[in-house]
C-alpha cells in the first residue's frame, strides 16, 4: 500500500500544475459506414486479405457438408473439437466431434464467433464455457461460424452488442503468423495455420455467450 501511495502522490505532484481538459469523445469514422450486403462484402474482402478463407452457407446445418466438400483434407486429422455452443448441429458428416475445450489433442476446432468486424476483417470470440478460447489457439485448423446479421462495421459496434461478460474477448483476423524468419510472413507459428470462416445467412438459434444456443 505504501508503494501505491508513493506512486499516486508522485503522479498527482507531476500533473498538479497542468490544466486537465475534458476527455475527448471516442474516435468515430468520418465517412458513412457501409451497411447490409456492402458491410458483408467489406468484411469478406478484408478477411481474405488477412489470410482467412471465407465461405457462405445458407444455414448452420449446411456447414458439415461444406467442410466435407471443400476441405476434405481436414477429415483425416482425427477427432474434431466443437464449441458446446455448436453441439446442437449434426456434425456426423465430418466424423467424430467432441464438444468442449481443446486441450491440444485436436487438430481441428470449430467455434462460434460472436461477431465479425468489417473494418478489420476480424472475428470476435468470447472465451467462456460455451465457446472456449483454447479452440481458437490450439487447433491446427480453426473453423468459425458467424451469422450475417452479426457482422458490424467497427470494433466499437461490438461493445454495443456485448451484453454478457466473459473472461476474455478475442478479435482474430487471420491465422497465427510471424515475419521473424527472413522477413517473410509465414503462417502457423503457434496457433492455427488455417482459419476458415462460414458466414451463415439464417441465424440458427439465438446465441448467448454464456448459455450457448437458446430459443
Amino acid at each position: 500500500m505504501e508503494t501505491r501511495q508513493t506512486i499516486l502522490s508522485a503522479l498527482h505532484g507531476a500533473t498538479k500544475l497542468r490544466q486537465a481538459g475534458q476527455l475527448p469523445r471516442p474516435w468515430m469514422e468520418p465517412a458513412q459506414p457501409p451497411s447490409g450486403n456492402a458491410l458483408i462484402e467489406q468484411f469478406m474482402i478484408t478477411a481474405v486479405q488477412n489470410g482467412m478463407r471465407v465461405e457462405r452457407a445458407k444455414e448452420a446445418a449446411d456447414i458439415p457438408g461444406l467442410i466435407r466438400k471443400n476441405h476434405p483434407h481436414l477429415l483425416g486429422m482425427g477427432e474434431i473439437c466443437v464449441a458446446p455452443a455448436l453441439a446442437g448441429i449434426d456434425w456426423s458428416a465430418i466424423g467424430t466431434v467432441v464438444p468442449g475445450e481443446n486441450n491440444g489433442a485436436f487438430a481441428v476446432g470449430i467455434n462460434r464467433a460472436h461477431a465479425g468486424v468489417a473494418r478489420t476483417g476480424a472475428l470476435v470470440f468470447f472465451s467462456n464455457a460455451a465457446t472456449p478460447g483454447t479452440i481458437n489457439f490450439l487447433s491446427r485448423c480453426h473453423i468459425a461460424l458467424v451469422c450475417e446479421s452479426e457482422i458490424v462495421n467497427a470494433m466499437n459496434d461490438v461493445w454495443e452488442t456485448c451484453v454478457a461478460p466473459a473472461n476474455a474477448i478475442h478479435f482474430i483476423s487471420g491465422p497465427s503468423s510471424t515475419g521473424d524468419i527472413g522477413g517473410r510472413l509465414l503462417k502457423g507459428i503457434h496457433g492455427p495455420l488455417e482459419l476458415i470462416c462460414y458466414i451463415v445467412e439464417k441465424r440458427p438459434l439465438r446465441y448467448c455467450p454464456f448459455h450457448g444456443l437458446t430459443d
Binding site: T3, I7, L8, A10, L11, H12, G13, A14, T15, R18, Q19, A20, G21, L23, P24, P26, W27, E29, P30, T46, N50, E101, G104, R119, T120, G121, A122, N128, G133, T134, N136, F137, L138, A154, M155, N156, W159, A166, N167, A168, I169, H170, F171, I172, S173, G174, S176, S177, T178, G179, D180, I181, G182, G183, R184, L186, G188, I189, H190, G191
Partner: protein, 483 residues
Amino acid sequence: MEPVTDIFREKALKALNDTELQEAMRANRAFSASVRASVHGLKEFNAMREQAKAIKNHTLDNLGAYLESYEREARKNDIHVYWAGSGDQARNIVTAICRSVSARTAACGRSMIGSEINLPRALEEEGIIRYETDLAEYILQLAGGESPSHVSGPAIHKTQGQIRELFYERHKKQRSEDRDPAASEDLLAEAREILRGRFLSADIGIIGANFLIAENGANILVTNEGNGDLSTLLPKTTIVLASIEKVLPRMADASLFLELLCTSATGQNATAYQSFYLGPKPMDASGNEGRTHVVLVDNGRSEILGSGYWPILRCVRCGACMDNCPVYGSIGGHPYGWIYPGPMGIVWSALLLGREKASDLAHACSLNGRCNEVCPMGIPLKELIHGLRWDQWETGAVPLRDRAVMKTWEFAASSPGLYRWITRGISLTGSIPVPGRGIFDPFFFSRDRSGAKAFPLPENTPFNRLWQTYKKDRQEWKQDKQS
C-alpha cells in the same frame, strides 16, 4: 538485459562493417517501405493521430485517477493488482508470485517492461526455467541471450541463414528427419513443435500488456503469433506486467489506439490476435481455478511525467520511428545498447538510465524529423532529442573539445564576413591537387573512420554569393521591364 549504452560509437562502427547485419537491414528497409505504404493508405491517419494524442494527453494529465479506476475495476474482475515503484520491486513481486505457486517453468510472452526491469535474470536467479515463446525472443534465447534490436521485430538483425544455422545447431535432438533445414516453413514447423510442448507444460505465464482499460479493468494484448494468448490461456496462473502509462480511459478508445499501433508497426489494419482479458480463467473440469496478477510498474515514469519530456509517455512501442530513421536503418538496434533502440530509444534510455549513461545516444540523430512525421502518437521525438543535447550542454556534460568546436562554429556563423572568408578558404584548399591522392582534403581530420560518412566540401560558389547574384539579376530584370 544489462544496458551498455556508453559505447555507442564503437558499436555503430562495427555495425556499419557487419555485412550480414547490413543484409538484414536492407530486408528491414523493404519491410518499412511496405508499412509506410499502409500508413499512407489510411486516409484518416492524421485525424486519428490527433484524436489519439488528445485522449492520451488527457489520460496522462489524470493518470493517477485512471490507474485507481483500473485497479478498482480489475479487482472486481478477480484480478490481483500490485504496484511496483522500481524494477527491483517489480522483480520481487513476480518472483514471490512464482514461489507462491511453486512455479518451476514460465512461458514468457514478449514484454518490453519485463526486459526493462531485467526480469529474465531474476527468474534465472530464482531457478525458474524461462521459455521465451515469441519466435524472435526464442531465436535470441537460442543465440545465447542476444539483445533485441527492434521493438516489434526483436530478431530483425538475424538473416534466414543465421537462423537456419542456429536451429540446426540447437535443435539437433528434436529435429524430424523429413524436414528441410533450409526451408523457412520447416524452420517454423520445428519451432512450433518445440514451443507447443512448452506452452502445455509451463507452470506460469508471464506476459505484457499493450493497453489497460480504466473503465472495466481489461488488459489488452496484441500479437500476430498468438503466443501471448497461449501463455495466458494454458497455465493456471498468469502474471501481466504493465508500465503505468499504458492505461486508456474507455473500451471505446481501444479501437483507435489498436488501429494506429498495428498500422504503424506492421502495416496491418489489425494483427492476427487482439485480446481483451477481463479476468482469470474460470474453473476447469478438474476444479482448478485460474489466477491473474497484474503488476503496475512505475520505474521512473512518474518522474518523466513531471518533466518536459512527458510526451514520450504517449509511446505505444510500434517501432515506426526506428523504421524510418536513417541512423537506425544503417546500424540496426544493437549499438543503442539497451532494449529501446532508434529515436524513441534515445529518449527512453536517457530518461530511464540517466543522461550520463546515454550521452552519445543523443547525437545518434540527424534531426531530420522523419520520426515526428510517422509517430502515430504525435510525439515530438526530434525536439525531445534536441532537448537532451541542450541538457548536456547546460550541465557541462559535453566534452571540452566538442564545446570548443561548437563555440568556434558559433563565433564564425554569427560573423558573416568571417564565415564567408573561411568557407571560401576551405573551398579553395579543397581544389588543390595532391600528387597520387587526387585533391587535398581539408576535412581529413574529421573523416569518419567507417568511411560511411564524409563531410562535404563547400561549393566553389557559396549560397550567399549565389543569392546576391540572383538579387542583382532580378533587380536588373525589373528595371529592364519598367523601361
